[in-house]
Symmetry: C3
Subunit: 345 residues, 3 copies
């Protein structure tokens, strides 16, 4: 159960209330009476908690759990499980996530500007927004309603922050238009200069970086990421895209909607990433490439050519994932014998 030093819990709720919230069928005759006070994993749940059953591999856990109720998929039956304790839904993982949000709702903001924050007199701040200790809000910044700007975070001149967007501590945002319901973690840099130079009379001269960063609605950006602004035109992160920690996105990258970019990936300048692309951790994508919508790139791959729509690629340089698997298996057979390519010696 979550540490209440860090999380505030709502409830308790009856099974009926929960079922209503999750759009679930609940067959328990006592559903209006049984009180649930928390969520918990099958193995560690205590009486009075609700859990989830997502995979028949965990059937053992299901039969032994002490949870008062368990969310499972519609249609599931098993002779050794009392269906009176089950709550049936279409998508158990989603329902359990919703139950989490029911018991641990987002805390209300502490509306207002902390006296130690520094807000330029030309900035506007929407109703109900919270500007934390030591935050710095530049000239002509426009912050929507229900936003949070974390402690010691800096918004440079002209930045727009849409309604209900949240930024953690110690982040630095400039030259950026941020949409609604965007979540930006701590230590993030957005709007830094892109990395473009021309050889000049005395060394390298930086190309002026005169573009912006456009972060569309519902984007999530992990801790200590860096997103450079465009050289001319914009760097764009499409709506609903989620980005893990320590990811680098270079100038003029145009990323589509609903992408999933895992930690420490890096995307070089002017590359276009289609909608729904998934990228594993530590992936690198070269500059001026196109990654088609729906493509999947295995962790740590190095992409040096365009990737087709819905393609699945892996390796360095990245090739279709089947080819990569054949190569790694073949290499093991060729040089290490039949069992060579296992992690055991």
């Amino acid at each position: 159960m979550p540490d209440l030093r860090f999380f505030r819990r709502s409830g308790p709720f009856t099974l009926s209330e929960i079922a209503l919230h999750l759009d679930a069928d609940d067959l328990s005759p006592d559903r209006g009476i049984i009180s649930i006070h928390d969520i918990g994993d099958l193995d560690s749940a205590e009486p009075g908690q609700i859990s989830v059953f997502t995979d028949t591999r965990y059937l053992d856990g299901l039969t032994r759990t002490r949870a008062a109720a368990v969310i499972c998929k519609r249609g599931f039956t098993h002779h050794s499980v009392d269906s009176a304790r089950l709550m049936f839904v279409k998508d158990p993982r989603l329902a359990y996530a919703l139950a989490g949000h029911l018991f641990y709702p987002q805390q209300p903001l502490e509306s207002g500007v902390h006296p130690t924050a520094h807000v330029d007199h030309t900035a506007t701040i929407g109703h109900g927004s919270q500007i934390d200790v030591g935050a710095v809000i530049g000239r002509d910044v426009q912050i929507g309603r229900g936003c949070r700007v974390g402690p010691n975070t800096v918004l440079g001149d002209g930045v727009l922050l849409g309604d209900d967007s949240k930024i953690g501590a110690n982040s630095s945002i400039s030259h950026a238009l941020i949409g609604r319901r965007v979540e930006i973690e701590t230590g993030v840099t957005i709007g830094s200069q892109g990395f473009g130079f021309v050889p000049g009379h005395a060394g390298l001269m930086r190309m002026l970086q005169l573009g912006r960063v456009v972060v569309e609605d519902d984007v999530q950006i992990g801790a200590n990421c860096t997103i450079d602004r465009g050289a001319t035109g914009d760097t764009v992160i499409g709506s609903g895209t989620v980005i893990d920690n320590l990811v680098h996105i270079a100038h003029n990258v145009r990323m589509g909607r609903l992408c999933v970019i895992c930690a420490q990936a890096g995307i070089a300048g002017s590359t276009e990433i289609g909608d729904g692309v998934m990228m594993g951790g530590q992936v690198g994508v070269g500059d001026h490439l196109r990654v088609g919508a729906g493509a999947k790139i295995a962790a740590k791959s190095g992409v040096v050519r365009d990737v087709d729509v819905n393609a699945v690629v892996g390796g360095y340089p990245a090739v279709p994932i089947k080819n990569w698997h054949r190569q790694t298996i073949g290499l093991g057979r060729l040089f290490n014998g039949a069992l060579g390519n296992s992690a055991k010696e």
Copy 2:
């Protein structure tokens, strides 16, 4: 055209004024009259803007552009392009970069120490420098003239910052001598402890890190980079070197002049990097190695041996780039058939 919320434009300038600034030949008879108010890409430029033509692949764009004038290479002619609209220079990309700096000059600093900044009374700050909101300047820090220390950035005791150097927001600099005209982005750490330990009586004991970081003139350091100080002696970044975001440079690395280090590269302890080395994104270089001057290292390579002067290497482990290409092509042929090593299945 740049978003004037974020950028302040100068001008307009006549073609003659621009030609003078760019050391260009302008054949237009009206060059003293035609007024240019902005720069713009060939494709999107509007009347009244100046653009650049860098590559015959873009000839189509050149013939169709609405730009009032286009910078191109001396000697260029084409039957379908009216040379009266062309401005001839030796190096179009450099000239266009200079034009950018003409229309979007660096904004003057707001000289002075913000009342919320904390400057130790033993620190000295040169004429015209700007110390932003919440910046922290330690004991005996010496800041030159025309410097900027961004919001909430921290300069530890004894740090030197040369004339005309700029540091973004939320950066942390200690144990460092920074040269002139250095640009450091946001979220950067310079001067942190190197990663060196000896097995001790009770676990690992850190070797004291008693060195410094020396950043020479005209260096640029990207967002969220980390540069450790030397263990004994210095970590050195040579003059004119440019470093992209999220790069790690370990203790006692000695990097030469005019190097180009792309994002997320990492260089391990005590390695020497010669002048003019270029390193792609996510490159890793082992410790105690020497990378010769002028060497080029392909993106994502893992360098485990010394690299010769002017060598071009790639792969993991890195080998001469031709060998690496032969290996990746050969692997594809061997295990995937003749066309196996393409990104298409």
Copy 3:
């Protein structure tokens, strides 16, 4: 010799005092008189300094050094070296590290809360702790004795910081229980949301991240690292583990004791890392894996399967290191000729 702008030196000490501190045998007849004022490398040491001799490769340096005394291994003799200048110990590197700490002891803290720091009235701060300029200490935070919280660092509500732990500037810590004698560098994020989503009705819905980060005693965490809190349950860093810069540790990773994790490594969610594991720079480890105690993972490897106790692996995907070496050598022979796989062309 260290730059005294950045480091404060103690001493001088007589050879006898040093020998006592290092548990060393000192054969010098003048050991009670000879005064040593600093440490220094064999090559650069000046008279009055003490140095160390760790490897017979440096015998030349030993015979030529100007150091007044040299720490070396018990039993070492050489006809050309005057043993009166040697100080004999069991482990020269450790002894030299101890000598470093003798001459450059940790500076005493400046106990107290800086007036510009913001400490919630419900927080408690132990005796002798130093809360720096602009630091932000949230509700119910408990800080032990002898701690330091650096400038502009933010501790979120409920965070625990054990005795004698130090955090650098501009770091952001939330949802975390930090042990004793922990050192956290600048720009670090601890306690950020893990990267877990379920497809929802309108895009990706984040799984609530209701766990914590538990950092045990004597851990060291490098600059700009990110450590996510658990989804349910904890992300754990075992005691004595040392982590270099820009490392990413995902939610619910359980790392053992005395691990060494080099820069830019990344460990995906729920992976278990045994005691004493060593990971080179830029290593990636997949999610839900087990890396056995004592395993060593070569720099830049991509680990996609469990790793056995004490195994040594390398490559992408990682295999036993001998197999990887055979593969890279074999590849060179196959496609580049016998000498192909060298860094020289």
